[in-house]
């Protein structure tokens, strides 16, 4: 048998120790989990960083489960959901505390925006069918009929009880529920001890902490160039939501018909190409993005002044851009 002198054993240890100790970036790198799942009609991506892989995996799994629970509660496509019950109701209806909280937040944005955000546009949405297989341009009479009962006061909330002004009103929480689900996912991650994470639900983003020791870089989709970004924002501990006329649309005779409707006319809103809102919560950012899109580049920033901590980056219909003062120094144009 070959016997190595003892010091040779120690010498053999040396390269191992050098490699393990000399690469702090690798040996001390935190665990990272990046998972995607299709929920709420979009791809949900959750990224989380932490000291250990397994607890992170568990937390991310719980966050997805929470989002699936919110979807079951607020989708119009499942007959047992709060929203489906509410649309079918012909009188006051008690909903879950969470649905009530989302409706309360939506009503607040609706009131502050003079009705630019309206959760009673389900019939209008069905009429245009922009997200469906047979999108079409409705006639004036059809539009008028679809708007009956909508507008200020179409939904009233007392505690957990919701009353529709018109029993035919179809409730649509599409402009706010996804944001709420993102907020809940972040809350679940936080409760599990995660300190650095991002939840991205098809562009509705909420950030927990930074991306390690630096802020997250959020790319903002260019509204007219599919593969380009308009700008990047460096952010942490906040929510970012973009609404644009390029997401779901069809064109007829050179006119673009998209899914963000002006509740007053029933037509796609025409003052903006895209609106990005930075807000403390994704639910609020979600609703404000729609409202500001409808209000346009002049009235939109005025609305944001009424919501502390909320900022906006607006691309107007003519391609010009407006940013609110709170984003100064955070935007890098591309």
């Amino acid at each position: 048998m070959i016997r190595f002198p003892r010091f040779l054993h120690l010498l053999a240890l040396l390269p191992v120790l050098l490699i393990l100790g000399g690469c702090p970036g690798r040996s001390e790198a935190p665990a990272a989990v990046h998972r995607s799942r299709i929920l709420m009609g979009t791809v949900i991506e959750i990224t989380a960083y932490g000291p250990e892989q397994k607890p992170l995996e568990r937390a991310v799994g719980q966050a997805f489960a929470e989002m699936a629970r919110i979807e079951n509660l607020m989708t119009p496509h499942q007959p047992q959901s709060d929203v489906a019950h509410l649309s079918a109701a012909d009188g006051p209806l008690q909903v879950s505390p969470e649905t009530a909280a989302v409706i309360a937040a939506g009503l607040k944005v609706g009131a502050a925006s003079d009705g630019a955000f309206d959760m009673g546009l389900g019939r209008l949405k069905d009429l245009w069918d922009i997200e469906g297989e047979h999108p079409r341009i409705p006639g004036a009479e059809e539009l008028r009929a679809a708007l009956v009962g909508t507008g200020a006061g179409d939904l009233r909330l007392a505690g957990r009880t919701v009353t529709k002004r018109d029993p035919r009103l179809l409730v649509d929480l599409g402009g706010i529920a996804k944001g709420y689900a993102v907020d809940r996912a972040i809350a679940v991650l936080q409760a599990a001890g995660v300190k650095h994470a991002a939840v991205n639900a098809g562009g509705d983003i909420r950030l927990l902490g930074g991306r390690g020791d630096r802020p997250w870089k959020i790319g903002i989709q260019h509204p007219r160039r599919k593969d380009a970004i308009l700008a990047t924002l460096e952010l942490a501990n906040t929510a970012v939501v973009t609404s644009g006329d390029y997401e779901r649309f069809f064109e007829r005779d050179g006119v673009r018909y998209h899914h963000l409707f002006d509740p007053k006319t029933g037509q796609p809103a025409r003052l903006c190409r895209s609106v990005t809102i930075v807000a403390p919560e994704a639910m609020l950012a979600d609703a404000l993005a729609t409202a500001v899109f409808v209000l346009g580049p002049v009235a939109g920033p005025e609305l944001l002044q009424r919501f502390p901590g909320c900022e906006g980056l607006i691309v107007a219909a003519d391609g010009s851009t407006v940013t609110t003062p709170g984003l100064a120094g955070k935007v890098t144009w591309r």
Binding site: L20, R26, G202, I205, K217, I218, G219, Q221, V241
Partner: protein, 133 residues
């Protein structure tokens, strides 16, 4: 059998040494893993750059080597050698490369093909982490 016998004759410190060497191999495998996707192909002959092009523009080029022309194809972000005057065609058999730092070499024809991040490109720093749309 001989290996089994040799292993039985080792002492704990010998086994520790073997274990550490295995760990070392594992660490090196991770450390030397392929880089991020590249953006440019660079071809050198005898230490001089004779051709460079972006990886996202498809093309086929002929480059003069010691023995004759080597035909190179850039397709779908990768580069491969299609034809070469070298006798054993090993360079053709090396397939495609796509990632920063990867190499194709035709020793007889004196050509070295490598993938670069390109000027100004920081592969480890993407333009953004998440896209809001």
């Amino acid at each position: 059998m001989a290996l089994k016998g040799a292993w039985r004759r080792t002492r704990p410190l010998d086994r520790l040494l073997v274990a550490l060497l295995l760990i070392l191999c594992g660490v090196l495998l991770v450390w030397l893993r392929p880089g991020p996707p590249g953006s440019r192909v660079v071809v050198e002959r005898e230490g001089t750059v004779i051709f460079t092009a972006p990886l996202d523009v498809e093309r086929t080029v002929e480059l003069a080597g010691r023995l004759g022309p080597t035909r190179l194809a850039i397709r779908q972000g990768s580069v491969c050698i299609l034809d070469s005057p070298c006798p054993r065609k090993i360079c053709i058999g090396m397939g495609s490369i796509t990632r920063t730092g990867e190499l194709l070499a035709c020793v007889p024809n004196g050509l070295l093909v490598r993938i670069d991040g390109g000027p100004g490109v920081q592969p480890s720093e993407p333009a953004y982490d998440l896209l809001s749309r």
